[in-house]
C-alpha cells in the first residue's frame, strides 16, 4: 500500500484536476479577495481609521456583534433542546420537523426577511400582540433605571427596530447548533449514562456532569458558526431592521450605503475589518473542530 500511496500514483488526472482547481480557486476566490486588501492598503492610515472607526460605523459594529452574539446564544440554548428532542425522543411528525430545521439554509434571505417582517410588524400575527407588551416593558424598565437608557438598547418596537435584527439573525443561525450537535448526540454511548446512574448519580447530575461536557465542544462550534453567519447577514435583516443610522443599522448595510455613495475606499475598509473578523472566527471554528474530534477519540 505504501508504494501505491507515494507521490507517483497510477491514477490519472492529478495535474489536470489540481491545476484546474488552483486556477479556478485563484480566479474566483483569491484574486477578488486580495483586491479588497490591496485597495485598502492604498489608503493612508488616517483615512483608514476615519473610515472604520467613525461613530456611525462603530455603532453598527456594536449592533452587528451584539445582536449576532445574542442570537447565537439563544440558538445554542434552543438548538440544544431541539437536537436532544430529535435524537432522543420519538413523536408524531418528527421527520418533518427534522427536515424543516434546514429551512433557513434553503429559504432565500430576502423571502425570510419580508416574511418575518410581516409576522412581527405591529399588524402581524405575532407583532400585533407582542409589540404593545414589549413597548410597555421597555418603558417600565426605562422609568425604573433611567441611567441605563434601555430604550436605546432594546428599542421600543419589534419589527423596524433592534428586536427585529435579533429575530432575523436568530432565524438564519438556527440550523447550525442543531446540525453540529445531532451527530455527537447520536454517537454518545448509552453506557456512559448507565455507568453514571449505577454509580448513584440522579438524572440531573448525569445530564450536567456527564452528558453536557461531552456536548460542549460541538455546542461551542455551533455557536461560533451561527455567530459568524449572523455577522455577515444582510438580506433578511434589511427588511425588518428599520435601518436607522446609529441605532438599527448593521455593518453589511453600511458597506452598501458607502458603495451607493461611490465611497469605494470607505466600503472596502469596513469590508476588510469584517473579513479579518470572520477569518479569525473561521480559524477558531477549525481549532474547535479539531479539539472536538480529539475529545471524542479519547
Amino acid at each position: 500500500m505504501s508504494s501505491v500511496r507515494s507521490s507517483r500514483s497510477v491514477l490519472p488526472g492529478f495535474g489536470l484536476s489540481l491545476g484546474f482547481t488552483l486556477a479556478y480557486l485563484g480566479l474566483i476566490v483569491l484574486v477578488p479577495l486580495l483586491a479588497a486588501f490591496i485597495r485598502t492598503s492604498e489608503m493612508s492610515w488616517a483615512d483608514f481609521v476615519t473610515a472604520v472607526a467613525s461613530p456611525r460605523v462603530l455603532a453598527s459594529y456594536k449592533l452587528s456583534f451584539g445582536a449576532s452574539f445574542l442570537a447565537a446564544l439563544v440558538n445554542s440554548f434552543f438548538g440544544l433542546i431541539v437536537a436532544w428532542v430529535l435524537v432522543r425522543y420519538s413523536f408524531f411528525g418528527k421527520r418533518v420537523v427534522d427536515a424543516l430545521v434546514d429551512l433557513p439554509f434553503a429559504l432565500p434571505t430576502a423571502v425570510a426577511g419580508i416574511a418575518l417582517t410581516a409576522i412581527y410588524a405591529n399588524n402581524g400575527w405575532v407583532g400585533g400582540w407582542m409589540e404593545p407588551v414589549w413597548t410597555a416593558a421597555v418603558a417600565k424598565l426605562d422609568a425604573w433605571m433611567p441611567w441605563a437608557s434601555w430604550k436605546d438598547w432594546l428599542g421600543l418596537k419589534i419589527a423596524f427596530d433592534r428586536p427585529g435584527v435579533f429575530i432575523a439573525l436568530t432565524f438564519i443561525g438556527l440550523p447550525f447548533v442543531v446540525r453540529t450537535l445531532q451527530p455527537v448526540l447520536e454517537e454518545l454511548e448509552p453506557e456512559l449514562e448507565e455507568a453514571s446512574a449505577s454509580l448513584g448519580a440522579n438524572r440531573w447530575q448525569t445530564i450536567t456532569r456527564v452528558i453536557f461536557p461531552e456536548l460542549l465542544p460541538a455546542l461551542i462550534t455551533g455557536f461560533a458558526m451561527a455567530f459568524a453567519r449572523a455577522l455577515g447577514e444582510y438580506g433578511s435583516v434589511v427588511f425588518i431592521a428599520g435601518n436607522m443610522p446609529m441605532h438599527s443599522e448593521i455593518t453589511p448595510l453600511l458597506i452598501i450605503t458607502k458603495l451607493e455613495q461611490y465611497d469605494y475606499h470607505g466600503a472596502t475598509a469596513i469590508a476588510v475589518v469584517m473579513l479579518v473578523s470572520s477569518f479569525c472566527l473561521l480559524l477558531l471554528i477549525n481549532l474547535l473542530q479539531k479539539w472536538s474530534r480529539r475529545h471524542h477519540r479519547v
Binding site: 488526472g13 428532542v85 430545521v101 432565500p108 434571505t109 418575518l116 449505577s198 438580506g235 453589511p252 473579513l275
Partner: protein, 306 residues
C-alpha cells in the same frame, strides 16, 4: 390472570429504576418537545405560512396576475440562467477538487481544503463588493473595460458589448462565488471514505482514466453529487446580498427573483412581492424534501452495507 399481570408489573417495577436513570421522565420529555416545537413554530413554520397567506391575501386571481408582469418574468428567466451557469461550473470544480484532494497526496492539502471553504466565511455583501473592486469602473480591470483609457481593448470589448458589473456576467460571477464550496465539500469527505481501491482495480484491469471515472467513481458519488447540486442550486437561485451589490437593479434586465421581491416590496406591491416569494419558498421546500430523501436513502444503503 389478574395475579400474573400484577406479578409482572411488580417485576417491571423492580427493573424500572435502571431505565429511569437513563431516560427522562414523561413530563420532562413532553415539556422539552413542547419547547422545541414552539420555538421552531415561531421561527420556521410561521414565516413559511406567512409567505403563502400574504401572497393569497387578495385572492387567487391577483396571485396569478403577479406572474404576468414582464419584469417579473424576466427576473425568473435571469434566475434560471444564473443557476444554469453557476451550478455546472461549481460541479466541474467540485469534482476536480475532490478528485485531486482525495485520490492523491500532496503538500498543502489541508490549506487547500480550508481555502475552498473560504467563501462561506465571507459576508454576501462583501462577496459582491470584491467583484466591483475587480471589474467596476474604478476597479483593476475597469479601465480596460472602459473604451476611453485603452482604446484597442476597450473598443473590442465594446464591440462585443461586454459589461461585467451592473450586468449579467457580474451576477453570475458573484453567484459562483457564494455557491463555490457546496459541491466540493459534499464530495471530499465522501470520496475520502471510499478510498482509491476500486479505481486502482479498474486501472489495473486496463480501463482508461475517463472510463474509470465514469464507470467506477461516478456511480459511487452520484448521490453525494446530487446532494451538493440541490444545495448549490437553492443558494444560487436565492442569493440576495452579493447579487444586489453587482446587479445595478435594472428592471427587466439585471434583476433576479430575490431582487424583484425587494423592488416589489419597496413599492408596497405586497401581493406581487409575496407571490414571487412563494415560488422561492416552494423551491426551498422541494430542496428540503429532496435533501431528506437522499439522506434517508443514504442511511438505508449504509444499513444494508453494514
Amino acid at each position: 390472570m389478574a395475579t400474573t399481570v400484577t406479578h409482572l408489573k411488580a417485576q417491571l417495577g423492580a427493573a424500572a429504576p435502571a431505565s429511569r436513570a437513563t431516560q427522562d421522565a414523561p413530563w420532562v420529555r413532553w415539556s422539552l418537545i413542547g419547547v422545541a416545537l414552539v420555538f421552531l413554530g415561531f421561527f420556521l413554520v410561521l414565516p413559511l405560512a406567512a409567505v403563502f397567506t400574504e401572497a393569497l391575501r387578495k385572492g387567487i386571481a391577483l396571485y396569478f396576475q403577479s406572474f404576468t408582469d414582464a419584469d417579473t418574468l424576466a427576473a425568473v428567466r435571469l434566475t434560471f440562467l444564473t443557476a444554469a451557469i453557476a451550478v455546472p461550473a461549481n460541479v466541474v470544480f467540485g469534482v476536480a477538487a475532490a478528485w485531486c484532494i482525495t485520490k492523491f497526496n500532496f503538500k498543502g492539502k489541508s490549506l487547500l481544503i480550508t481555502l475552498i471553504d473560504l467563501p462561506f466565511a465571507v459576508s454576501p455583501v462583501i462577496s459582491g463588493l470584491i467583484y466591483v473592486l475587480v471589474f467596476g469602473l474604478q476597479g483593476w480591470l475597469g479601465p480596460y473595460l472602459d473604451a476611453g483609457t485603452h482604446p484597442w481593448l476597450g473598443d473590442w470589448l465594446n464591440q462585443q458589448d461586454i459589461k461585467v458589473i451592473f450586468a449579467v456576467p457580474g451576477i453570475v460571477l458573484a453567484t459562483i462565488f457564494v455557491t463555490f464550496p457546496f459541491v466540493a465539500r459534499e464530495l471530499i469527505p465522501l470520496m475520502q471514505a471510499q478510498g482509491t481501491d476500486e479505481e486502482y482495480a479498474a486501472i489495473t484491469l486496463g480501463a482508461s482514466g475517463w472510463q474509470t471515472f465514469r464507470r467506477v467513481t461516478l456511480p459511487n458519488i452520484k448521490w453525494g453529487l446530487f446532494y451538493g447540486v440541490i444545495l448549490c442550486n437553492a443558494r444560487a437561485m436565492g442569493e440576495f446580498g452579493a447579487v444586489s451589490v453587482v446587479s445595478g437593479h435594472i428592471r427587466g434586465e439585471t434583476n433576479t427573483m430575490p431582487l424583484q421581491v425587494e423592488i416589489l416590496y419597496n413599492e408596497y406591491n405586497f401581493v406581487a412581492a409575496f407571490a414571487v416569494s412563494s415560488l422561492l419558498a416552494m423551491l426551498a421546500m422541494v430542496t428540503l424534501v429532496l435533501k431528506s430523501l437522499i439522506e434517508w436513502r443514504y442511511a438505508q444503503s449504509r444499513a444494508t452495507h453494514d
